[in-house]
Symmetry: C2
Subunit: 146 residues, 2 copies
């Protein structure tokens, strides 16, 4: 379990690199959105990002297009908070889940920790063939428990 985002300027370098690897153009706006995403601490809404981007002269549509792009590359994931609101989190690319702190909003990557066995049990018991799943965990991070 590691912190999902860092906070340096131009921290979006690895996002930009991933765009490049996938054969997408490395444009100014995309670099900027990548930095904005990487600079975010914890989950953020589309509106947050649109507002940040607007101050740099980047349009609404481009922000959504960039989010889609990063999402398709597995670098950003859309999560649904307990209240039903949507948010996005920056994350690593492998299959994993998020533990989201309800106090500070930070998200942490979590590995399966036995979940796949649980899913196997469910499938075996019921004849349901599991092909995909989503797990979201909410609670308090170690720092916020103090």
């Amino acid at each position: 379990m590691t912190r999902a985002a860092t906070t340096a300027t131009h921290a979006g370098g690895h996002l930009v690199a991933a765009l490049d690897r996938a054969g997408h153009r490395l444009t100014g706006p995309r670099r900027s959105v990548a930095d904005l995403v990487a600079a975010r601490d914890g989950h953020f809404t589309a509106a947050d990002l649109v507002e940040d981007a607007r101050r740099q002269g980047i349009g609404r549509a481009t922000v959504f297009r960039s989010i889609d792009l990063f999402t398709s590359l597995g670098l950003v994931e859309r999560v649904d908070l307990p209240g039903g609101e949507h948010a996005y989190v920056a994350c690593e690319t492998a299959h994993h889940h998020h533990a989201i702190c309800t106090s500070c909003g930070r998200s942490f990557d979590v590995d399966d920790a036995g979940l796949s066995e649980v899913l196997g049990t469910i499938g075996h018991r019921s004849g349901f063939r599991v092909t995909a799943h989503r797990l979201e965990i909410f609670g308090l991070c170690a720092a916020c428990q103090r």
Copy 2:
């Protein structure tokens, strides 16, 4: 694992009973929406329900208000499909999760099957105190595998 919905007319009886128990008024529109929800096979969108209800002269706002009500009573739950779309499913009131068939759309209630241990492991390892979680499972039901 049991089927979540049945298909008879006025099948919304147990929904109506739950409203009564919780001290809400048993109005005509609410009874109708309860029936519409109970009659649904598998997940449905708000738009589906609004359309059904409109034919009976029931307004949009009332449908959303009824969904909220049923949701607060644990009789309907909002789920997020893999593609990102929203839907609702009728379900029993205890804590559980949904296995959703990507072919026929039916949803099945699933118990923890060891999930709480997995969550305990995650918390123990990382110092994160888990207070809530959401698990959605997608795949093919036994019938649709044939």
